[in-house]
Symmetry: D2
Subunit: 358 residues, 4 copies
């Protein structure tokens, strides 16, 4: 007789619902994780709204913190009861894409080994972690033990928000002494700001319009903030840089307006590091692009995953270099998750990230 568990599933367009589902069976390469803390991502809201299609009944969520409940027969190097996290992206480790370092485009099972976004499985192509239990595929590539001294909430940003935001700074190849602009200071933009500081940017300009977010940006590393509701951010950044522009701009929202502004503020030879999930075609204005002759670079990054990535991000937290706990502004039990979605999706009450505890 199969045990059951509670899980938040995509019930219908506009509706996430809590349901009883069987606790998953554990295959030879899997691990069953008992979820102790998870969270809701902006992407989950897109899923809820039907803007990003997933199967009806799929368990949502891709940011698990928990404890190993059971290990697959072929999994070595872990023990049941161990505290672990897994990244939002769960690479197989053995696809051609993985073996090139492109875990997020993991094409395991395809003929050639590449699949766009193929590494994103939790809450997308397999059941996710807004549930009491989640099955972690390819466990040996994905389970990262949590150091004892770190709490669940301290590592809750590692699986996605921190990995993505830092990835934006890394893809920008930020160097010591760079000037960097970060467009939008939601959770991912805030982590991009923190990542830019961590890599040695010495002038970080954060753009948003919500005072609390701009204030948080300052705490995490921004040297200057621009409220785009009060002044044109392109003009403001040109003025601040005395006409030179920035070395790297990071787009962390997913709109034409921010993409375009991020391009316009670049110095010649600068890099636009794009993290946004866009929902329309994008336009590159001829002048902003110097007609293709400006030595510009546009780099997109999907959240890096895998246990080594998680280990590194947790070491950032352990070191005290960056403190992301303040991003958790609200807490809910799993059976309050519909309420949590309501708050989070409407960005009420100054919410940045919520913690969900099954």
């Amino acid at each position: 007789m199969a045990r059951t568990m509670k899980a938040a599933v995509f019930a219908a367009k506009g509706r996430i619902a809590l349901r009883e589902k069987p606790v998953p069976e554990v295959g030879p390469l899997d691990a069953l994780m008992r979820v102790t803390t998870t969270t809701i991502c902006g992407t989950d809201v897109h899923i809820m709204k039907g803007e990003y299609p997933v199967a009806e009944g799929l368990t949502i969520g891709h940011e698990p913190v928990g404890v190993i409940e059971r290990l697959g027969s072929a999994v070595k190097g872990y023990r049941e009861g161990q505290r672990v996290i897994a990244g939002a992206i769960t690479p197989s480790g053995h696809s051609n894409a993985c073996l090139c370092g492109f875990c997020a485009q993991d094409g395991a099972g395809t003929a050639h080994g590449w699949k766009p976004m193929g590494g994103w499985r939790f809450g997308n192509t397999i059941d996710g972690c807004q549930a009491e239990y989640v099955l972690v595929p390819d466990a040996m590539a994905n389970l990262a033990p949590v150091p004892d001294q770190l709490t669940d909430e301290q590592v809750l940003m590692c699986p996605d928000i921190m990995s993505t935001g830092f990835g934006g700074a890394e893809s920008g190849a930020i160097r010591i002494g760079d000037t960097v602009a970060v467009f939008a200071q939601g959770p991912i933009g805030l982590c991009a700001t923190a990542g830019a500081k961590l890599m040695g940017a010495t002038r970080i300009i954060a753009v948003d319009r919500v005072p609390e977010r701009l204030e948080m940006a300052r705490r995490l590393g921004a040297d200057e903030v621009v409220d785009f509701s009060k002044e044109d951010p392109v003009e403001a950044i040109r003025r601040l840089t005395e006409g030179r522009g920035v070395d790297v701009s990071i787009e962390a929202l997913g709109l034409q307006s921010t993409f375009e502004a991020a391009l316009r503020v670049l110095r010649p030879g600068g890099t636009l590091s794009s993290l946004g999930v866009y929902s329309t075609d994008l336009r590159i204005p001829l002048d902003a692009f110097a007609a293709g002759l400006g030595d510009h670079r546009i780099i997109t990054t999907l959240c890096p995953g895998g246990k080594e990535r998680m280990r590194r991000l947790m070491s950032v937290i352990s070191s005290g270099r960056v403190d992301l706990k303040p991003l958790v502004t609200h807490r809910f039990r799993l059976d309050q998750i519909e309420e949590a979605y309501d708050l989070f999706s409407h960005q009420r009450d100054g919410v940045l990230k919520v913690a969900i505890t099954p």
Copy 2:
């Protein structure tokens, strides 16, 4: 009494004319080069048509092969009578952009040291080389001696076409075993094809519609050719790569259609290396861009310049690895240059590049 020389100047929209102009004065850091061979670039045609604005009366041309006639008082390390070339881009060597390796965006004289396309001076902001003499600025950074065994025509592609085309392959960071698509096989696209082969791409797919250009592409390294007038190149490349896509695509024309196709044929994590000079805004289709989540890279490159670049390119020619002489399909004397423009701008008679000898 100043000597005079013949020079092809921008006379009016639609008209390049040969005029008498004074031979330039030589400043302390300059060198006066007597031009022995030069050529016409697609960019010169844009200038002729008034699509790219330059001052009336400016001498056109940025691809000089010649002999040092006179050296500025502060120029050391050269001797008069030496055979030399200079790149289309003539970096100062001392701007902030140059000191970062972005010679083409040289901002010498600006407050902050960066200027879009600032390294392009010949035939743009200073007199060019479709003339009997040309003044080479910052001569010590720009004059590259031509090895005795190489003819003028053998090195005629180095200043721009070869440097730009190879730059497209280099910006694509092509690796051994890569599959590469090159869109358009004009002179720059052909050099990109040759550059891709030189860097170790093992499957190069060249796209054009002119049979002679596709045939030349095969000679220079293409493993397969696609005639876009006969089949959709995106579909053809998907078929050839069995759905995987290419590691790197190079855009060498400057149109929305080729830019878009170059994006659509990329595998996840692939790089679009853009060489085209665009004349309209560009559109990035949402699906081709995987909504921003495909780990794609779009890199633009303006022709790298400076004497070390020229030295390296001439060493490619010396080694026999690549033979670009066949690109010179027609020859004219300087006083026939209006005729040469007529032929070249209408792409008549299978013209690829012309050699102009003052």
Copy 3:
């Protein structure tokens, strides 16, 4: 009742012997390969001589070409009967080292995920492939299908010699127009020479003393050869480069003398890419190292492995860019392997590589 097979094992110091051993059991992640062609590596000779210790009775060999005989229960994406190769290095895909791209230092099973040379398992820590059958661990990361049009001998160099030699060129980060010196033109040095050409080096200087090897070096890409028994190679290279030195030097032998010469011929800022397996401490002469102030780089590389690496190398062969068949100078049946070791270890009869067919 277990089937048995013939296998060449390390019998005692100085002795490889053919023995009957059970055909291996297939675990869930393994594949059993029926070996159709394999070869002997210089490393195997070190093992035979007892210079590199392995367990008595271990099957030797790490360069398998064959056919899938049986797949483990958890292996997907392959079919029995498929022609495949596996690299000398067989990464797990899931260790921390693998997830950083350091497959050869795979520490699967260790606490932290790194182990020096841990990715080298065949004929080192597990049974190798000089046998009728070999068990391929972590099959999904390691089995690379062989294109139909390629023969066994055409791909026989991919698992080690070509991957290592090309790795030396890649670690040197060779660029278009580089001058490269390759010290020693044994099989690995010859592949380094071929790799240097494939990456765009335009002046390749090959050093050896065996005329046949220098001749083969010319066939594979060397522009000039230096017979070190006739002239000092450091002086010769300085003369050839007019005092400048080389951009990259590749050491492919493993002696102090070649290591030191490879350092001495570097230009300031040059890279020594080391492939040799050394058996003594190395000395860096103060003057050759510019007292530590020459911006020199010394990079070591262990053979890259995994199926994507094999796929890329086979695509080099398929493209016809490089033809390594001439490296196979002698052929033996598996039951003649002791004879093959005798010939190969004494480098008699102009042997470069032998093909062994079970």
Copy 4:
């Protein structure tokens, strides 16, 4: 009648002496700087002791802070009276080495454009800056304006100590989450420690034996310190990293013992970034080098120079990310410089760096 000035010159082995010398003539590309603050480097002590040979009578010193007194006739973009610094390395900007980004190996004037350490001119091949005035060659590539809000002492480390130390971190290609060991915490090692932190290392282990230096290392970013007089640093670091080793080690002293220890503590695939000026041949122990198969990298770095480098370093200071003022422990007037050398060369009184004011 030429004006004269005071200058500290190499008088004889073991003796730096203050002399009257003519104020230099200003050539077309030069700038005359009135020195307001300078300092003494460990290299100057080597020169004083005759361990590094310079011409008798040469003015010593390569770390100038000052004011532009006069500009050469061809120098544009500056004004007399402007506060500036110049790097210890003063690239021409136009040599082949410079045009490849290797400013420190600048071979301006040589046939091929490369010269070991050729970019180091001040106090080595031309008069230095421990004087009332110093002539800055190739002024447009080298003069970096000092922001008004920064004091002389705040930027005094930029020309050499900070550029070199940070260069060690940069050559190590330190990434977010790296573990880094820095051997020796003199001024350069301390700056390497600060640079490692600035690039995102999250576990920095500083090695020295002087308590004040270890304490300063903690202030600048070290997470842990190892007193090598109390425990073997290799064992200590292995213990701290639980056997894994460090991603990057930085050698900042110049001895066999530190070089060797820096190699021994590396994880497989790790990078030894070497900053030391060695005075003996170096030995690479076979075991520490994994016989050449550990994917190790050894990178040496000479102080990067040029005005863009200086601009970036000053922006680090302006941002408040790093405060190097505490490194200035003692202050002298130029006419006390012999006393300063005495203190500094004997490392008395806890001296780290001295400020010298003409």
